[in-house]
Amino acid sequence: MKLTEKILLPVLLASGFIIAVPASAKQVKLEVAMAEPLILAEKKNTTFIKVGLTGFDFTKNGTDRAPVNVAIVLDKSGSMDGDKIIKAREAAKMAIRRLNENDIVSVVLYDSTVRVIVPATKVSDKDAICAQIDRIAANGSTSLFAGVSKGAAEIRKFINKERVNRVLLLSDGQANIGPKSPGALGELGGALIKEGISVSTIGLGSGYNEDLMFKLADRSDGNHAFAENGLDLVRIFDAEFGEILSVVAQEVLVKIKCDKGVRPVRVIGRDAEISGSNTTVLLNQLYSGQEKYIILEVEIPAGHAKTTRKIANVELSYANMTTNTTDVLASTVAVRFTNVENEIAENTNKDVMANCMLQVGTMENNRALALRDAGKIEEARKVLLDNGIRLQAAGHRWGSKDLSLYGAQNKSDAGQLDKKNWLLNRKKMRDTQYKNLKQRGY
C-alpha cells in the first residue's frame, strides 16, 4: 500500500461533516469509524461500525451547566435499618448540597407505601430539605414501582427539556408491592425515556434484584451501579450526581442509514430499532467530556479489491443544554476492499476494535450469567474462562488495558460461581456489564 493511501484512507473513510451549526458554539463530537476500514474483497464480510459521541467540556467554573430536576427515591424498608439508612441519608444530603437554586429536587420514600417528603421544589433552602431527610427511619416492605412512579410524578411537575430530568433510585431489597419483574420495570423505564426522564438505579448490599435495577436503568438510559456497603453508596451517589450535573446534551437521536445492500445485524448492548437498512438509537443524554458509543454490527456484500464502498450515513440530533438549541450533525463511513489479508489487520482501528471486543465480551459474560442462572455452573465457568482468555488476547493485540483487565475479571468471575459467592458476585457482574455496555462514567 502506498504511503499516500495510508494517510488518506482514515481521513477519507471517517470524514464527518457538520450541517447547520454556528461555528462558535460548543458541539458534541461525532466520530463514526469502522473497526476494519480495510476488508477482504470478493467475500461477504461482517464487521462493526462504531458511532462515538463525546460531550463537550463546560467552562472551567461549571456555571454553564444545565439545571437539573432530580427525584431522589429512597428505599426505607425494614432491611435498610442501621448503617444503610444512615449512609443513605448522608449521601442524599451530600448530593443536595451540590445543587443550587436553579435546580429542582424532590425526595420520595417508599416502603409498603410511598411518601413524598420533599415535593418537587427549587433548591433554595438546603437546610430544610436536609432536615426532612434526617427524619427518615427504616421499616416496612418495598413498593419500588410506586416509588419510581411517584418520583416521576414529582419530576413531571417541573418537567422541562432544558433541565436534566432524573430519578435516582436506591434499593436494597426485592420489590414486593406492585409490579416486580425486570420486564415490567423495564417497560416503565422505556416509557419514561420518552418523556426525557432517566432512572439511575443504585443497588445496595446483596439483597436487591439486580436484573430489575439493571433493566430499569437500561431502558431509561440512566446509570446502574452496585454499592457493596454504605460507604460505597456515598461514593456512588456522589459520582452519579457528578454525572447529572455534567449533562451537555439530551434527546440524543442517532440514525444510522446503511447503504443499499449493507445489512444492519444488531446493536450490541443498547436498545435499538432496526427496520430494513435503518437503525435508530435513542440516548437520553451525553455527559461532559465523556464518550458514549454505539456498536452496530453490519453485513457487507462482497466487493472488488481496491474499490471503496460507502457503508452508512449517520445522523445525530440532540438538544444542546448550554445553547438550548437542537443541533444536528451528520457523518458518513466507508470501507475499502483489498486482496492482501495482512493489510486488514494492519489497518484495523485498534481503539474501535477494542471497544467492539469489550461489547462482545460483555455480552458473553452475560451469557455465562444466564447459564449460571439455569444451574449450568460448569458451562458457565467454561464460557467465562474462554471469554477471559479471548479478552486478554484481544487486549494484548489491540493494545487495550481495559480489555485485559476485563479478561482477568472474567477469569476471576469463573471462580465465583459457587453458591456462597454467587449472590454478591452476580451483582458485581451486572454492575460491570452495565458500565461496559453503557460506558458509565464512574
Binding site: S112, V114, A146, S149, S181, K194, S275, G276, L282
Partner: protein, 565 residues
C-alpha cells in the same frame, strides 16, 4: 344437704349471669354490626372518590390516545416516530378496510419490536376479534370470520351506527374537544379491548375515524397506565387510620397508602371493583379496628365485663343472703331438735319410773281391787307406754342422722310380735278392734329386736289411731329362708295410691278428716321405714287383701345366728 345447696346457689348465680352475658355480647355485636355498616358507608364513599380519581385519569389518557390515534399519514416512519415519543403506546397498528394490516407489516422491513407485537397479539387475531366496522361486512367478503367486536362499544348496533354516521364530521375534529372536559369521550367508533398475554392482562385502544375506514389501534404500555394511575393517587388516607389498596385480579396490591399494615389474608372492610377498562382491578379498604370482624374490641369487652361483674356481685350477695338465712333456719331447727332430744332424754327417766311404779301398783292392787282404781292405773300405764313410744321415736329421729348401728341379738320374731301386740291390747280393746294373729316365723335368728318392735309399735299405733273404724287388725309373719316378712293389715280408709310414698316422708301428715281427729307427729312411718332399711329391708304399703284398708309390709333379712354370741 350442703353440696346440693351449693349447686342450687351456683345455678341461681350463674344462670342469670350467663343470660346477661349472652344478651350483652349479642347487643354488643349488633351495635358493632351497626357501626361497621356506618363505617362501610363512609369508606365506600372514599373508595368511590378514589375510583373517580382513577376514572378521571383514564379519561385523560383516553383523550390522549384519541389524539394520538389521529394519524393523517400512517407511514411506517411516522408511526415509529409517534411510538418513540408517545409514552402510552407500546405499539400502534393500522388495519385497512379489507381487514389487512397496513402497519406493522410482518416483513424484512419490520423491527424486532413489531415482530414481537405480532407474537403478543396473536391470540386476538386468531380469535377473529375485529374492531370497528368494515366495508367487507356489507358485501360478505369475509365469510370465514366470526362477527365479533370488542366488548366495550359496538358500532354494529344500528342505532349507534346511525348516530355515528351523523357525528362523522365531529369524529374527525377531535382536537376541538376541550381538555377541561373530564368525562371520557363517547366516540362510538372507539373502544378498549383486553386480552391475556404474558403475566397478565393487556389492553389496547382502537378507533375508526371513518365508518368502514381503517382502524387505528394502540397497544397500551401497561406499566405506564399503572404508573400514571399511581402518580394520580394520593399517598395518605383522608380520614381514619386505614389502608387503601389498589389490587390486581389476584388481590395482590399494586399500590397502597395509609398507615395500617394489613396482613396477607386479611379481608377488607369494604371493596369496590373498577369500571371499564380496568375491571380487573379492585379498590380495597382495610382498617385497624375493623368493627365487622374478629373478636370484640377491648373497650366493648371491658364494659361488658364490668356490667357482668356488677351483676355477678349483686347476685352473689343475694345468694349469700339467702344461704345465710337458710343456714340460720337450719341452725334454729337443729337447736330445736337438740332441745327436744335433750328434753326427751330428761323425760325418759321419770317416765320409766312412772311406768315401773304404775305396773307395781297394778300388781299390788290384785284381782279384787277397786275397778275404778284399776282402770285409773291401767290408763296411767297405757299412757306412759304411749309417751315412751313417742320419746323413743323422737330419740330415734335424733339418732338417725348419726347413723346408729344395729344392735343384733338372737331373738324369736314371733315372740317380738306377740309382746308388742300385748302392749297394744288395752288400746285395741278400747278402740273396739279385734286382732287376728297368724304367725309362722318361729325360732331364733339375729336381728335388732328393739328396732322391729319400734316399727311394729308405730304401725299398731297408726292402725289404732286411723283405722279403728275397720274394727279389725290382722298381723301375720312369714319366713323364706333368711327373709322375714311381717304384714300388718287393717280395714280402715286406706291410703290413696298417689299418696303412698308421701306418708313415708318425715313430718308429713295426710290432711283429711281422718287425721284431723287424731293427734300425731308425722314421724312414725318415716322412722319405721328408715329402721327397716337400716336393717337391710323395707317397709312398704300395699292394698289390703280384702280390698279394704291398707296393708303395711315389713320385710327384712335376719342374720345367721352367731354361735359365738
Amino acid at each position: 344437704m350442703r353440696p346440693r345447696l351449693v349447686i342450687i346457689f351456683m345455678l341461681l348465680v350463674l344462670t342469670p349471669l350467663g343470660l346477661l352475658a349472652w344478651l350483652g355480647v349479642k347487643s354488643a355485636k349488633d351495635e358493632r354490626h351497626h357501626v361497621a355498616e356506618r363505617f362501610r358507608q363512609v369508606f365506600d364513599g372514599q373508595l368511590a372518590d378514589i375510583e373517580q380519581i382513577i376514572g378521571k385519569k383514564v379519561g385523560e389518557l383516553e383523550r390522549q390516545l384519541h389524539a394520538t390515534s389521529d394519524i393523517r399519514i400512517p407511514t411506517a416512519e411516522n408511526i415509529r416516530s409517534i411510538i418513540r415519543r408517545e409514552r402510552l403506546a407500546r405499539q400502534i397498528f393500522v388495519i385497512g378496510t379489507d381487514g389487512v394490516f397496513l402497519h406493522p407489516l410482518n416483513s424484512e422491513e419490520s423491527t424486532r419490536q413489531e415482530r414481537e407485537f405480532f407474537e403478543r397479539t396473536r391470540s386476538i387475531w386468531d380469535s377473529g376479534a375485529r374492531f370497528g366496522q368494515r366495508d367487507a361486512e356489507s358485501n360478505g367478503q369475509l365469510p370465514g370470520k366470526a362477527t365479533q367486536y370488542s366488548k366495550t362499544r359496538k358500532p354494529s348496533d344500528p342505532v349507534q351506527k346511525l348516530k355515528y354516521q351523523k357525528g362523522k364530521g365531529q369524529a374527525l375534529n377531535i382536537k376541538s374537544v376541550s381538555p377541561q372536559e373530564l368525562a371520557p369521550l363517547s366516540d362510538p367508533a372507539s373502544g378498549w379491548h383486553s386480552w391475556f398475554w404474558g403475566d397478565g392482562l393487556n389492553l389496547l385502544y382502537w378507533r375508526q375515524p371513518f365508518p368502514g375506514g381503517p382502524v387505528i389501534g394502540i397497544e397500551i404500555e401497561r406499566m405506564v397506565l399503572l404508573s400514571d394511575i399511581v402518580a394520580a393517587l394520593p399517598t395518605e388516607t383522608g380520614v381514619g387510620s386505614g389502608r387503601m389498596v389498589l389490587a390486581d385480579a389476584r388481590n395482590k396490591p399494586l399500590f397502597q397508602w395509609g398507615d395500617y399494615e394489613q396482613s396477607e389474608r386479611e379481608l377488607p372492610l369494604t371493596e369496590r371493583g373498577l369500571g371499564s377498562p380496568l375491571e380487573m382491578w379492585r379498590l380495597r379498604y382495610f382498617s385497624k379496628d375493623n368493627p365487622g370482624s374478629g373478636p370484640l374490641n377491648t373497650r366493648t369487652l371491658t364494659g361488658l365485663f364490668g356490667g357482668l361483674s356488677a351483676a355477678g356481685v349483686t347476685l352473689l350477695g343475694l345468694a349469700m343472703y339467702f344461704y345465710r338465712e337458710n343456714a340460720r333456719e337450719m341452725r334454729t331447727a337443729e337447736q330445736k331438735v337438740s332441745f327436744v332430744n335433750q328434753i326427751s332424754h330428761e323425760l325418759k327417766t321419770p317416765l320409766t319410773n312412772i311406768r315401773l311404779y304404775a305396773e307395781l301398783a297394778e300388781e299390788k292392787t290384785g284381782q279384787d281391787a277397786d275397778p275404778d282404781l284399776k282402770k285409773c292405773l291401767g290408763i296411767v300405764s297405757e299412757e306412759s307406754n304411749r309417751l315412751g313410744r313417742l320419746i323413743g321415736n323422737v330419740l330415734t329421729l335424733a339418732k338417725r342422722d348419726r347413723d346408729a348401728a344395729l344392735r343384733l341379738t338372737a331373738a324369736d320374731v314371733d315372740q317380738v310380735i306377740k309382746s308388742t301386740v300385748e302392749h297394744f291390747l288395752p288400746a285395741f280393746k278400747k278402740a273396739v278392734m279385734e286382732i287376728s294373729i297368724n304367725l309362722s316365723c318361729p325360732g331364733n335368728c339375729m336381728f335388732d329386736a328393739d328396732a322391729i318392735e319400734q316399727i311394729l309399735a308405730n304401725l299398731f299405733s297408726n292402725a289404732e289411731k286411723y283405722a279403728s273404724s275397720g274394727k279389725l287388725i290382722r298381723v301375720s309373719s312369714r319366713r323364706y329362708a333368711q327373709d322375714i316378712e311381717i304384714r300388718v293389715e287393717d280395714r280402715g280408709q286406706g291410703v290413696a295410691k298417689e299418696l303412698r310414698e308421701y306418708i313415708f316422708e318425715p313430718f308429713s301428715r295426710l290432711n283429711d278428716k281422718l287425721t284431723e281427729a287424731a293427734s300425731g307427729t308425722g314421724i312414725g312411718l318415716s322412722i319405721a321405714r328408715d329402721l327397716a332399711r337400716q336393717h337391710g329391708g323395707d317397709l312398704r304399703i300395699e292394698d289390703s287383701k280384702d280390698g279394704k284398708g291398707c296393708c303395711f309390709v315389713l320385710s327384712f333379712t335376719a342374720f345367721e345366728e352367731d354361735t359365738n354370741a
